[in-house]
């Protein structure tokens, strides 16, 4: 339950984005939230709706994109989606892997409006 702390940090970024681009308001926000980010999209949405009132993003629509988990194999180089919570290469079965995607927790883009 640290979604509110993440949203607090998001709004610091949103305020500075609006300032840097001389925007009057932010009308849309897109976040990228991986299944292994430890963040629950529904809770993030609720925290966003609560927090946005009276800010530069009051009225902004929030989109949360959830990319699937992907692992890259250090043995054969394949990039695959692991099944369930078993991290092994979908091609050769090796467990010598690096995470290619899944822990993402990004502010992807914002839509700004100037008067």
């Amino acid at each position: 339950m640290h979604e509110l702390s993440i949203i607090t940090s998001l709004f610091e970024t949103l305020e500075s984005q609006a300032r840097d681009h001389g925007a009057a308001r932010i009308t849309a926000v897109e976040l990228k939230v991986g299944p292994l980010s430890g963040v629950v999209p529904e809770l993030l949405q609720e925290a966003f709706d609560m927090f946005k009132l009276g800010t530069v993003a009051d009225g902004a629509a929030l989109t949360i994109v959830q990319p699937p988990v992907r692992v890259r194999c250090r043995s054969c180089g394949a990039e695959t989606e692991p099944q369930g919570l078993v991290f092994k290469c979908g091609e050769c079965g090796s467990t010598d892997l690096s995470l290619a995607a899944g822990t993402d927790l990004y502010l992807e883009k914002v839509e700004l409006e100037t008067d």
Binding site: M1, S9, L36, G38, V86, K109, V110, L112, T114
Partner: protein
């Protein structure tokens, strides 16, 4: 009125990660190994630190940062072992963040070998916050049950080592030790697993050796 779309691509915890990177750089310059201990409440983090303090007394210098929602209790236990300790009380927050460490950092002696950070007892949220550590340890005590790794995957996914603690209770509890190891390694095949009892000291030696090796590696110039 004009509209435009800006591609930002900025980490939502970017401000945390920046402070964490500063802490990590300062620790490496001073050849201090930063260790982040994470677990549920009551898994034995403080007791483990008490044992480590006893074992390293006189040969190594260590300090501890304690994270709790309330009370100074853990820091007092550590100080009673002659080790300097700083208590961070979060007042409700379920995890430590890098800027909390950054605030305490100026008070930490610069001639340490180890800086242990005991996170708030919580197997979920602390995993999302880099504190600038070089080694992340997750503790799982045997009474918590053998089904936890896949129920709380992120803590195991981001850890370097897993400490299965309170092994002295193995004879009296129905516990699938091999099954727990297998589940944890399914999630993170790179985990180093230790089974130990901070109460009896069983299994502590291999973990201490691991800490020393990690410290040498973190202090290496190309680390």
């Amino acid at each position: 009125m004009t509209k435009k779309e800006i591609l930002v691509r900025e980490a939502l915890l970017g401000s945390n990660d920046k402070v964490a990177a500063d802490v990590r750089r300062m620790l490496r310059q001073r050849k201090i190994l930063g260790v982040n201990l994470m677990s549920s409440p009551g898994a034995g983090k403080t007791t483990l630190l008490e044992r480590i303090a006893e074992r390293l007394a006189g040969t190594h210098r260590l300090a501890v940062i304690e994270g709790d929602i309330e009370t100074e209790r853990d820091a007092e236990r550590i100080r009673a072992k002659g080790v300097p300790a700083w208590q961070i009380t979060t007042g409700g927050a379920c995890h430590l963040e890098a800027r909390m460490i950054g605030r305490v950092f100026p008070e930490i002696p610069s001639d340490l070998d180890f800086l242990f950070i005991e996170n708030v007892g919580n197997l979920v949220c602390p995993a999302a916050y880099d504190l600038g550590e070089s080694l992340r340890c997750v503790l799982l005590s045997i009474p918590e049950g053998d089904d936890k790794p896949k129920k709380y995957p992120k803590a195991f996914l981001t850890a370097d080592c897993l400490l299965i603690t309170k092994s002295d209770l193995l004879p009296v509890l129905a516990y699938d030790l091999e099954g727990v190891k297998r589940e944890a390694l399914d999630i993170n095949p790179r985990l180093t697993v230790f089974v130990l009892s901070a109460l009896t000291g069983d299994g502590l030696e291999p973990f201490l050796e691991y800490l020393h090796r990690a410290r040498e590696k973190a202090a290496a110039p190309d680390a």
